[in-house]
């Protein structure tokens, strides 16, 4: 059997608005690269098989579980994580604040993933029904909150951004 040869590749991409590059092991997942090479620790290692959504990031505006995404596929992509949502002085974005206000957080492990999916939902500029929102949020597991507060945080932010009154 032939000997395994270490294989590295340099990846260039945009991370939270900044052009970056790294030489990575081709076996690395995007979660591995973001956490180990960039110290982006909002990206959580949960199930590592694409079921729990804790490692979710936005790639070119769409939500992806970074645990089942090869790091080398990031080449040329625009990647956003929770860190990219903060204002210049570390201010929380509206959706983050809504999670705080609605007590949509307990242990916080699922929160970054949920919020990035919420960002994808909110950036569509559309108004969704509760049923649609539940389906759109269904790729995340939360073992603390029971989901209702999360749904409310996303819904209220959606209405605010659409300039509608929140009940």
């Amino acid at each position: 059997m032939e000997k395994h040869v270490m294989q590295y590749q340099t990846v260039h991409f945009n991370l939270n608005g900044r052009a970056v590059e790294r030489t990575v092991d081709v076996r690395a997942s995007l979660t591995d690269m973001l956490r180990n090479d960039f110290r982006i620790t909002s990206v959580k290692k949960g199930c590592e098989v694409g079921e729990c959504g804790a490692c979710n990031v936005l790639i070119d505006g769409e939500a992806f579980n970074s645990c089942i995404y090869l790091a080398v596929w990031a080449e040329g992509k625009r990647i956003r994580t929770l860190e990219g949502l903060l204002g210049p002085n570390g201010e929380l974005s509206d959706i983050q604040q809504a999670f705080v206000d609605e007590a949509a957080i307990q242990c916080g492990f699922c929160t970054p993933g949920f919020i990035l999916t919420a960002v994808e939902i909110l950036e569509s500029g559309r108004e969704y029904t509760d049923a649609e929102l539940r389906k759109l949020l269904s790729g995340h597991l939360c073992r603390c909150t029971g989901y209702e507060n999360i749904l409310r945080a996303v819904k209220k932010t959606m209405y605010r951004r659409l300039g509608k009154t929140v009940d």
Binding site: H4, V5, Q7, D25, V26, R27, A28, S29, D32, E48, V49, G50, E51, G53, N56, E62, A63, F64, N65, I68, Y69, L70, V72, W73, E75, T117, K135, L136, L137, S138, G139, H140
Partner: protein, 293 residues
Amino acid sequence: MYDMKALYQAQSVSDAVALRQTHPEAHIIAGGSDVLVQMREGKRAGVELISIYGLDELRGVSLEEDGTIRIGSLTSFSHITRDPIIQQYINVLGEAVDQVGGPQIRNIGTIGGNTCNGVTSADSASTLHAYDAIVELTGPDGVRRQPISEFYIRAGKVDIREGELQTAILIPKESYADTFGHYIKYAMRNAMDIATLGTSVNVRLSADKKTVERVRVAFGVAGPVPLRAKTAEALAAGKPVSMELTEAFSQAVKEDINPRDSWRAAKDFRLHIAVESARRAFIESVKLAGGEL
């Protein structure tokens, strides 16, 4: 880190074909939502991978000159659901793939990967069978086209030959024109679950909406590979739209299917939901087509 021996990233379809010939043992990885998970489970540990994920030329839905709908093999489920061509002509496919996994899986998962896995439960498979889809494979000798029913050989095994990769799924106009369809996924949960049974029906009614000109019904998990229930299709063709026909049609699906007992469901239960799903999907399809039941 994934336990892979080597990763070869294809730069074009012809490069992918060349890589397939140079590394015949390597597995193709498209979106990776099955391949990487299986690698993590140890099933594909230590293999070489040929990544085709970067081949943007295999993404997107288009209408060819003769009316054939061409779906690039790397088109993600979410892009299929949102595509205007799919929504206009074959909306049931968009609805079916909108039931795969969860939102993030639908952003990474591809229709090519879904079919090349050869699993009977794939949410796209029954609808593609119900529309007599053609699988386009590109290899060293050029392009080969094969009906999807022949593409599936047995559970987990499809007809991809040496040096080949799947490059598109084609739906001929004759197959989809003037049809309306409905897909029912029966599963224990609404998200992140695999179908206990998948049922896809589409109908073409006469101009006055009174007669079934053609009906197609295909199932996933009703046998080792996705399959059509042709006895039921033949029984309903040319008959007046009625509830009696609906009952006869749905009972007749049992003639052609052969579900098994598994930990997900018993054979008897699958037969029961096959009849019930066929009935409901037929009724819904007829209504979408403008018929009355």
